[in-house]
């Protein structure tokens, strides 16, 4: 109660004097213990040298107890004085004479020892806490440092995932796609050359050729959705016209991006449109869709809307028990988009009342 109103310098002085008294207590009691111990030890060993020494030892062994009385009451007086002078707090003196036989003598001695034992470590701890608070980073600063570290590592991971996607695209382009094209081309040549071959052989070749062509188209569609070379080369506008033209329903496209955004942002915007149109084609039963991409200041806003049946929701995170319900695949697709937008501090919102129309809006920071 008192402590609240007490000025800092007074408390400081109280602690400082307390420390001094503690030190005094330790020195006095230590010296007494040393003298007493030495005397008792010498008597137990058997006194040697001048006979007067034996007398000194006996007097010391017995008399060392006497200053204890002064230590208890005298130091008690000093401690009370300390509280009165520094903190203006009066602690009453217990009644009765200064006697070692009274319990209060040992109680007071106990306080002096406790003060010596506790005050110092407490002060050390307070000092450490103060040093941590004032010399080290504040909690806010520590959090800032942590956030910076996390943001850096996250940006690294986004860039690494981007690079990985480019590498896979390149590998497929140089490997599987060329090999499959070569196969389809050879089958095509065989088909053209073997017009007069026996029917079973011709049918087999025709089927193989058709299959190879179909596989080629599917692989091309897949790779195109991943990371097209034209995106790096010519930007969003050029890359998006490719996927919008291939959608199985009419798609309007408007791109208004005067200066290009960072490659990782363009990649996400492209991926969003690609995935959103795939979702619309699979689930929305739409007759048409609109894609708008607009840069305002440092924000890139991607909107994909359709006139389908609506009811699209962002599904639970992967592995969180997405059931086999019809909408779940669309939902997890949207969840993937939301996660990719969030990986660069972007946002995704879906407005999709039952019966439609559906509008998906993704906002991304451009840098």
């Amino acid at each position: 109660m008192h402590a609240i109103g007490i000025a800092f310098h007074r408390r400081l002085r109280s602690v400082a004097f307390g420390l001094l008294l503690s030190a005094l207590t330790v020195v006095l009691l230590g010296t007494l213990l040393l003298l007493w111990g030495a005397a008792v030890w010498s008597l137990a060993e058997g006194p040697t040298g001048a006979p007067v020494l034996t007398v000194v030892y006996v007097v010391t062994a017995v008399g060392a107890v006497l200053p204890l009385s002064w230590c208890s009451y005298g130091l008690g007086e000093l401690q009370r004085d300390r509280f009165r002078r520094t903190l203006a707090i009066d602690i009453e003196r217990p009644p009765g004479p200064r006697s070692l036989r009274a319990a209060r003598a040992w109680r007071q001695l106990g306080y002096h020892l406790a003060a010596a034992t506790f005050l110092l470590p407490l002060l050390v701890r307070a000092d450490l806490a103060l040093a941590r608070r004032l010399l080290g980073p504040s909690q806010a600063e520590a959090l800032t440092l942590r956030v910076e570290a996390l943001a850096r590592s996250r940006a690294d991971m986004v860039a690494a995932a981007d690079a990985e996607r480019r590498r896979i695209e390149r590998d497929l382009h140089d490997g599987a796609q060329q090999r499959l094209l070569s196969l389809a081309m050879n089958l095509g040549m065989a088909r053209a050359a073997l017009d007069d071959a026996p029917t079973p052989a011709r049918v087999a070749i025709e089927q193989a050729h058709d299959e190879a062509t179909l596989a080629l188209t599917e692989l091309r569609e897949f790779v195109r959705g991943m990371h097209p070379a034209v995106l790096d080369d010519r930007g969003l506008d050029a890359a998006l016209s490719g996927i919008t033209a291939r959608a199985p329903f009419p798609v309007g496209l408007r791109v208004d991006v005067p200066t290009r955004c960072a490659p990782s942002i363009e990649a996400i915007a492209y991926f969003v449109v690609s995935e959103a149109l795939t979702n619309v084609a699979r689930h929305a039963e739409a007759t048409r869709a609109e894609v708008t991409v607009r840069r305002t200041g440092d924000r890139l806003r991607v909107t994909v809307s359709d006139d389908g049946r609506g009811g699209a929701v962002i599904g639970p995170a992967d592995g969180a028990g997405a059931g086999p319900a019809e909408g779940s695949t669309a939902g997890s697709g949207l969840r993937g988009l939301a996660q990719r937008a969030a990986s660069v501090d972007g946002t995704l919102t879906v407005t999709s009342p039952p019966g439609g129309p559906t509008a998906l809006v993704v906002e991304l920071p451009c840098a």
Binding site: R170, H173, D174, Q177, Q178, R179, L181, S182, A184, M185, N186, L187, G188, M189, R191, A192, A193, H209, A212, T213, L216, T217, R220, R224, P228, A229, V230, D232, D233, R234, D237, A238, A239, S241, G242, T244, A245, R246, P250, V251, G252, L253
Partner: protein, 213 residues
């Protein structure tokens, strides 16, 4: 007919050489990058150049750039660009100004051997071969306007015109009569406010200019 071929994948280069040879062409040179292509064109002066878009060193649009150089330096030479993905942007670069003796096709089309050889023939004869996918991309841009006034059949005809087909090509593709095609074409030109022309590649240019504007 002599051809110079540029394609960085050895597998496809070999396959295309076989295909072209089988189609009656003489492959004068088959090279793996744009610089070698320009050297080979200067050396052999072929009738036709077939070039892949994505080649070393950057694997982006080297083929388009090389094709543009060839078209500038040898105006009479037929150039067909093949690409893993057709991009409207690249088509616009390639077709700006003159659409005669030029082709831009999806690489996968080479597997449809007779159709591919027919497209090469069309380009060699002074025409255009534009991949249907490119035309679709161009038409996406113009969905909201006068294109809406065209009937579905007229839109089909417009698409085939943009691909570079002649009237008889359209007759074959749509299985309709010659006079019907002529009627569709003149109706399209009226609706889109284009000046009618009989020369096929000028007609392509008019259609593309319209789609691109």
């Amino acid at each position: 007919m002599r051809v110079v071929l540029a394609e960085d994948s050895l597998l496809i280069r070999t396959g295309l050489t076989t295909l072209l040879t089988g189609g009656g062409y003489e492959v004068a040179a088959a090279v793996g990058d744009a610089e070698a292509l320009l050297r080979a064109v200067a050396e052999h002066e072929p009738d036709l150049v077939v070039v892949d878009v994505r080649m070393p060193p950057t694997h982006t649009d080297e083929g388009i750039q090389a094709a543009l150089v060839v078209r500038r330096q040898y105006p009479g030479m037929a150039v067909v660009v093949l690409s893993q993905y057709v991009e409207e942007r690249y088509a616009t670069d390639l077709l700006s100004g003159d659409t005669s003796r030029v082709g831009y096709l999806l690489k996968d089309r080479v597997a449809q051997v007779p159709e591919f050889l027919a497209a090469l023939r069309r380009v060699l004869d002074g025409g255009t071969a534009l991949d249907p996918e490119v035309v679709a991309q161009l038409m996406v841009r113009r969905r909201r306007d006068p294109l809406e006034r065209l009937t579905p059949r007229e839109r089909d005809v417009l698409r085939l015109m943009a691909e570079g087909r002649s009237n008889s090509g359209i007759v074959t593709a749509l299985r309709v009569s010659h006079s019907a095609v002529e009627k569709y074409v003149s109706s399209i030109f009226t609706k889109l406010d284009l000046t009618p022309t009989d020369v096929d590649h000028r007609r392509v240019l008019a259609v593309l200019t319209y789609l691109n504007s």
